[in-house]
Symmetry: C2
Subunit: 113 residues, 2 copies
């Protein structure tokens, strides 16, 4: 039984936002994204994968295409395939997000476990 504990798996990097993989299958990816204050995920797009972010701790500014919203713990947002999306932690506290992508992006296939 594959179980992941967020508290045990959360990990930050002083260099840039840190991604930790929880689960990968051929159909989906589950990651934990940890942002220190000031860190960000640069806006980008995936041609064929949808992504859902769930804020677990803290507060972040989420962009999907032309829109931006500040979301805090307990909010989720979807970035459909093709949309330009990114996240920035402009707060003074850490930001933790759970991230689901489907299907598994090709860059993650080498890391499937």
């Amino acid at each position: 039984m594959q179980i992941a504990n967020i508290e045990k798996m959360k990990a930050f990097s002083s260099e840039k936002m840190k991604k930790t993989n929880l689960f990968n299958t051929d159909r989906m990816l589950t990651d934990l994204y940890c942002f220190e204050p000031g860190q960000f995920q640069k806006p980008h797009a995936h041609g064929g994968e949808d992504k859902v972010y769930l804020v677990l701790e803290g507060e972040g500014v989420f962009q999907v295409d032309e829109e931006e919203e500040t979301l805090s713990k307990g909010s989720a947002v979807i970035a459909p395939a093709g949309s330009i999306h990114g996240v920035a932690n402009h707060s003074s506290e850490p930001l933790l997000c759970l991230v689901f992508m489907a299907p598994l992006p090709s860059h993650a296939k080498a890391h499937k476990h």
Copy 2:
């Protein structure tokens, strides 16, 4: 921008565990499952969809095939396609889980929004 707020969307039913849909695309489903004490999701299997459960509040007993684990807030578990999986709230508190499935199961296609 499609945003969902867990606190606003959580909903219970005295009859049985309640599912509330957050996001559906052709590639994935995101649901909130709310269990009152004593409620459960009967063990079942999906031939072609993987499912991830994340416990947001409370504590539940999660089954994947022959294994059972009691998981609480901040734990996640994956039920791969084909596995028999279910959840039961044997505690005296409500249980809230976020659920991701990929790809979108056929029974949900009528409800895509």
